[in-house]
C-alpha cells in the first residue's frame, strides 16, 4: 500500500518597498539572468521541497514548501542563510527588513501580490507578469510541483478575477498617464498623432514618452534655446518616431501641425485665445489638446471655451489623478474581499486534501488486491475456464465484498469532506 505524502508547510520570506529601503532592495534583487540558478540553489537547501523566487524592483520574496519535520526557527534561518550565501549579504543586515508569512497568511500574501494589492501603485498590471515569469523559471528548473504549482495557478486566477470584477487597474493615477488617457478620450488611438513639446522639463518629457508609448508617431520640440530643443528631440528619437524642432519664434505659425501640445515654459501666456483661434482655423477645426504643466500657466484658460480646444493645466491633471486614485482605493476594498474569500476557499480545500488523497489510496489499494486475487483464481481454474456469466458473478461478488469492507473507513474519511468536494 502506497504512503500518503505529507503536504509540507508553506513559508514566504521577503522584503518590499514598505519594509526595506531601496539600498537594501537593490542588494537583494536577483536579475532575471540569474533567477534560474538562484531558484535551483534555493530548492536544494536542506528541508526545502519546492521553491520560487520573485524579484522585482519593489520586492524580493522567497516562496518555499518546507518539510514538516523542520523546526520553525530553522526554516527561517535556512532562508536567511541562503540570502547570505547566495548574495553575500549578512543575515543580520537583512533580518530587520524581512517579513515572514506561513501557511494561510503566505497564501493570502501571494494572492494579494499577484492581484497588485501589495504594489507601490495599487492596481499596476506589471506584477502579475513578473509573478508568472518567476513561476515559469521555477517550473523550468523543476523547483515547483504538487504544492506550489496549483497554488500559483490559483493565484493567477484570483488576480484575473480581481481584474475582471473590479476596476482596480482601469484608471491612471500619475500625471503623465492621466494626460495620455485624456488624449485617448479625444483622439481614440494615438497612432499617427503629432505631439509638440513647448519648453523643456522633466514632466513634459515624461508626458511625451507616455504619449509615444500610446502610439504617437511624430514629436516636435520648440524651446527658446534651440540646442536644448535638439537635445530633447534626440533623446526621444527612435526608429518608429519622427522628431523635429520648431524654432520658438515660429511656434504659432507651425503649432497647428500638432494634435497634442505640452507646454512647460513657465513664461506665461505662450498661447492666447487669438493664437488658438488661428491654430484651429489652420487645422480646419480638428481638435487640439493642450497639456499645460507650467506654473504660471502657458495656455490661456479661456482657450478651453473654444470648440475643438481642450486645455488641462497641472491642477486639472492632479484632480483627475486624485479622482482616479480614489476610484482605485474603493476598488481595492472590493478586491480585498475577493482575495479573502479565495484564501478561505483554497485553504479549506488544502485542509481536506489529505482525506481525499487517503480515499484515493485506499480505493486504489483495494482494487489492486481484488485484481490480484481474481488473477490468481483464474490461474487456478485454468483447466476448467469459467463461463462469462460465472466471471461476471465473481466480479460482482468481489466488488461488493471490497466495497463493504472499505465502507466504514471511507465513510469516516468522507465525513471530513464537504458536499462540494464530493461532487468534484
Amino acid at each position: 500500500m502506497s504512503q500518503i505524502k505529507q503536504p509540507g508547510s508553506l513559508l514566504l520570506l521577503g522584503v518590499n518597498h514598505t519594509t526595506a529601503p531601496i539600498d537594501v532592495r537593490e542588494r537583494l534583487a536577483i536579475p532575471i539572468s540569474r533567477l534560474a540558478d538562484a531558484t535551483r540553489t534555493l530548492a536544494h537547501q536542506p528541508g526545502v521541497r519546492e521553491a520560487m523566487i520573485l524579484s522585482t524592483c519593489n520586492r524580493v520574496e522567497l516562496l518555499t514548501v518546507q518539510d514538516d519535520a523542520q523546526p520553525v526557527a530553522t526554516t527561517t534561518l535556512g532562508l536567511l542563510n541562503f540570502l547570505h550565501d547566495y548574495l553575500s549579504l549578512p543575515a543580520a543586515e537583512v533580518r530587520p527588513h524581512v517579513y515572514e508569512f506561513r501557511e494561510r497568511e503566505a497564501i493570502r500574501h501571494l494572492f494579494r501580490v499577484a492581484s497588485s494589492l501589495d504594489s507601490m501603485v495599487v492596481g499596476e498590471p506589471q506584477i502579475l507578469g513578473q509573478v508568472k515569469e518567476s513561476w515559469n523559471v521555477a517550473r523550468e528548473v523543476g523547483a515547483v510541483s504538487s504544492m506550489l504549482d496549483p497554488l500559483l495557478q490559483r493565484a493567477f486566477s484570483v488576480a484575473k478575477r480581481v481584474r475582471t470584477e473590479t476596476h482596480i487597474g482601469s484608471s491612471s493615477v500619475s500625471i503623465a498617464s492621466v494626460a495620455a488617457e485624456l488624449a485617448r478620450k479625444i483622439f481614440g488611438s494615438l497612432a499617427g498623432k503629432t505631439v509638440l513639446i513647448v519648453g523643456a522639463g522633466k514632466m513634459s518629457d515624461l508626458a511625451a514618452r507616455h504619449l509615444i508609448q500610446q502610439g504617437a508617431t511624430t514629436l516636435l520640440v520648440s524651446n527658446r534655446t534651440e540646442a536644448r530643443a535638439e537635445k530633447i528631440a534626440d533623446s526621444l528619437r527612435t526608429p518608429a518616431i519622427t522628431t523635429g524642432v520648431i524654432p520658438f519664434e515660429q511656434l504659432h505659425e507651425q503649432s497647428h501641425r500638432a494634435d497634442i501640445v505640452i507646454t512647460s515654459t513657465g513664461a506665461g501666456q505662450v498661447f492666447t485665445t487669438e493664437h488658438a483661434r488661428a491654430l484651429l482655423h489652420r487645422r480646419r477645426n480638428r481638435p487640439v489638446f493642450f497639456i499645460d504643466i507650467a506654473v504660471p500657466r502657458d495656455v490661456a484658460p479661456e482657450i478651453n471655451k473654444l470648440e475643438g480646444c481642450f486645455v488641462y493645466d497641472m491642477d486639472d491633471l492632479q484632480q483627475v489623478a486624485a479622482q482616479n486614485q480614489a476610484v482605485r482605493s474603493r476598488e481595492a476594498e472590493a478586491a480585498e474581499t475577493i482575495v479573502t474569500k479565495e484564501v478561505a476557499r483554497y485553504t479549506d480545500r488544502l485542509s481536506r486534501a489529505p482525506a481525499i488523497a487517503a480515499i484515493k489510496v485506499l480505493q486504489l489499494s483495494a482494487e489492486t488486491i481484488r485484481q490480484q486475487e481474481l488473477a490468481r483464481t483464474a490461474a487456478r481454474l485454468a483447466a476448467q475456464p469459467l463461463t462469462p456469466e460465472q466471471q461476471a458473478a465473481i466480479e460482482s461478488l468481489t466488488k461488493s465484498l471490497t466495497a463493504k469492507l472499505l465502507h466504514s473507513q471511507l465513510a469516516a474519511l468522507r465525513a471530513e469532506i464537504t458536499p462540494v468536494d464530493r461532487e468534484e
Binding site: 475582471t164 476596476h167 482601469s170 484608471s171 488617457e181 485624456l182 485617448r184 478620450k185 479625444i186 483622439f187 481614440g188 487645422r283 480646419r284 477645426n285 480638428r286 481638435p287 478651453n304 471655451k305 470648440e307 475643438g308 481642450f310 488641462y312 486639472d316 484632480q319 483627475v320 479622482q323 482616479n324 476610484v327
Partner: protein
C-alpha cells in the same frame, strides 16, 4: 379545382403572415433584452452584459429579417407598403447599423440610443400590423424595392449620424468641464464619433441620391411629369439639397460639436417632414383605397 388552389394560396399566405408576426415578436423581445443589457454593458463597463446584449441584438436582427422576408413573400411583393412595414424595415437597418458599429469600433455605446429606437420601431408592427394592400401592379418591380431600400438606408445613416454627433457633444462637454471619472468612460473618443458621423453621412448621400433618382424615373414612366409638382417630391428634393449641403459644410469647414448637432437635427427634421408629406401627396400613395 381553381377555387381549391386559391384556397390553398390564401391559407398559405395567412400562415406565412402569422409566422412572420411571431418572428417579429420574438425579434422585439430580443431587441428589448439587448436594449436593457446594453445599459450596464456600456454605462457600468460590465463585460458580462455585453455578452448578453450582442447575441440578443444579433438574434433579434436575424428573426426580424426572417419576419420581413416572410411578410413580403406572403404578400407577393418585394417592398414594404404601409407605415408599419416601413418602420419595421428601418428598425432592421438601424439594428444592423448597431451590429456593424460594434464590430468595427468595439463600442456598444451607440446601442444605448439605437436599440430603444429599434424596439419602438418594431413593437408597433409586431403587435398592431397594418392591413393596407397595394393598388399598383408595378410595385412588384425590383426598381421600386431599390428606391425604398436606398432611401431607408439613407434615413438610417442620417439617424446614426445624428446620434454620433450627440455622443460627440456629450463627450466634448465632459472633457471641457473636466468630468473625466471612470463612470462615463462608455463614451467613445471624440475622433471616433466624429468619424462615424461623417462616414454615416457619406454612406447615406449616394443611397439618397440613387433612391430619389430611381423613384423619379419610375414615377415619370408611370405617372408622368405631374408627379414632380407634388409637395412630397418637392420636399424630397429639398431634403437631398439639405443633405448634400450638410456634408459639404462638414467636409469643408470641419464642422463638429454643437453646430454639427444643430445641422444634423435640422436635416433630420426635413427628413421627417418628407416622411409625413405622404399625407399631403396626391400621387405618392400606393395603398389600395
Amino acid at each position: 379545382m381553381q377555387n381549391d388552389i386559391l384556397d390553398i394560396r390564401v391559407f398559405l399566405a395567412a400562415k406565412y403572415i402569422a409566422m412572420s408576426l411571431l418572428w417579429l415578436r420574438v425579434a422585439v423581445v430580443l431587441y428589448g433584452i439587448a436594449a436593457f443589457a446594453v445599459l450596464p454593458a456600456a454605462l457600468y463597463n460590465r463585460p458580462r452584459w455585453r455578452h448578453v446584449a450582442l447575441p440578443a441584438a444579433l438574434a433579434g436582427a436575424f428573426f426580424h429579417f426572417v419576419s420581413i422576408t416572410e411578410t413580403l413573400y406572403a404578400a407577393h411583393r418585394a417592398l414594404p407598403v404601409d407605415t408599419h412595414e416601413t418602420l419595421s424595415m428601418l428598425g432592421l437597418l438601424l439594428a444592423t447599423a448597431f451590429l456593424v458599429l460594434t464590430a468595427r469600433y468595439k463600442t456598444v455605446s451607440f446601442g444605448i440610443f439605437l436599440l430603444p429606437v429599434v424596439v419602438l420601431m418594431t413593437i408597433v408592427p409586431a403587435f398592431r400590423p397594418g392591413h393596407e394592400t397595394i393598388a399598383y401592379p408595378f410595385i412588384r418591380t425590383g426598381w421600386l424595392l431599390l428606391h425604398v431600400a436606398l432611401l431607408l438606408a439613407a434615413y438610417a445613416a442620417l439617424f446614426l449620424s445624428l446620434i454620433a454627433s450627440l455622443l460627440y457633444l456629450i463627450q466634448e462637454r465632459r472633457l471641457k468641464q473636466k468630468l473625466t471619472t471612470q463612470k462615463r468612460s462608455w463614451l467613445p473618443p471624440l475622433e471616433t464619433t466624429d468619424q462615424i458621423a461623417l462616414k454615416a453621412l457619406l454612406f447615406g448621400l449616394p443611397c439618397m441620391t440613387a433612391g430619389l433618382l430611381i423613384g423619379s424615373v419610375v414615377a415619370l414612366q408611370t405617372i408622368g411629369p405631374t408627379f414632380f409638382a407634388d409637395p412630397k417630391v418637392l420636399l424630397s428634393l429639398a431634403m437631398w439639397i439639405a443633405y448634400m449641403l450638410m456634408i459639404f459644410i462638414r467636409q469643408h469647414s470641419g464642422l463638429r460639436g454643437r453646430r454639427a448637432v444643430y445641422l444634423s437635427s435640422f436635416v433630420f427634421l426635413v427628413v421627417l417632414a418628407v416622411w409625413s408629406a405622404n399625407a399631403l401627396s396626391a400621387v405618392h400613395r400606393f395603398r389600395a383605397p
